[in-house]
Symmetry: C2
């Protein structure tokens, strides 16, 4: 008997749970695939790419490390390590801040810019294939709207009433 548990059992009749489970599975499936393609072709993690693209679109192609952390939803220590990697590949550099010597900027190097531009098209195509292509234009907008209502930030002070 071949295993026929094809999909995560949708173990509940509650639509909220069904939606949540699909959300979880879809995330796992898509990011796994996206990651492995990005890794294979460009030697980048999904988080690496995420950081690079944020820098790419930032003013002066630089960002404070802490802002970077918040925008890609990593902790400060996560960013330190991730940037360590990107620095040793020469994709980003450090810059000090004159007005506040606590902060260090991460700056995209020329190589970093090039890397982003190389990686971008195929990655966007992958996203389109695995994600976007499933929906009509109208559905995309609606999906974006629905997802936009979810917490998109650290819910740090989740204090129970």
């Amino acid at each position: 008997m071949p295993s026929q548990v094809l999909i995560a059992q949708e173990v509940s009749a509650e639509p909220s749970i069904t939606a949540w489970l699909r959300f979880l599975r879809a995330h796992a499936a898509i990011t796994r695939e996206l990651s492995s393609r990005l890794e294979a072709v460009h030697e980048l993690t999904l988080s690496d790419y995420d950081v690079l693209i944020q820098l790419y679109h930032a003013e002066g192609r630089r960002l404070r490390r802490i802002d970077l952390a918040r925008s890609v939803l990593l902790t400060a220590s996560g960013i330190t390590r991730l940037l360590d990697g990107l620095e040793s590949c020469g994709l980003v550099g450090k810059e000090n801040c004159d007005s506040d010597r606590r902060v260090t900027y991460a700056v995209l190097t020329e190589a970093g810019v090039k890397k982003v531009e190389e990686a971008r098209d195929s990655h966007l195509a992958d996203i389109e294939e695995l994600f976007g292509s499933r929906f009509s234009a109208q559905e995309r907008e609606q999906l974006a709207e629905l997802l936009g209502r979810l917490p998109l930030q650290h819910t740090t002070e989740a204090c129970s009433a």
Copy 2:
């Protein structure tokens, strides 16, 4: 200047990318919070819970390890390690298969059943709070439908045409 990069820059006008980025951020934010609550109250990982609940709803409260892996979207080795943990806590046990001695079943113990039943309500409430409550009944169904079109499984043989 306080940091005002509140949200991940939505760096593209393309709705597909916007939706994808929100999907990514929402996943990070929600699972982080969900995890930390589950951990704090019940000493369970999100994956632990996921595995336990799958077993809970399975016939005979047992499942082949491989099927478990597929349904929670972990690799075989991931499941081995995860179950090691749950076994040492006494929440699941092993059982051999008579007809095929390669397979081992993971079985929920009494303690495991109890654990699931303890954890379930608060976890479902958390999901409702962080996820479900953002949507009307109709929106939930629609969201579930949209998410259901995404790949929910390993796209192992993603062979380009």
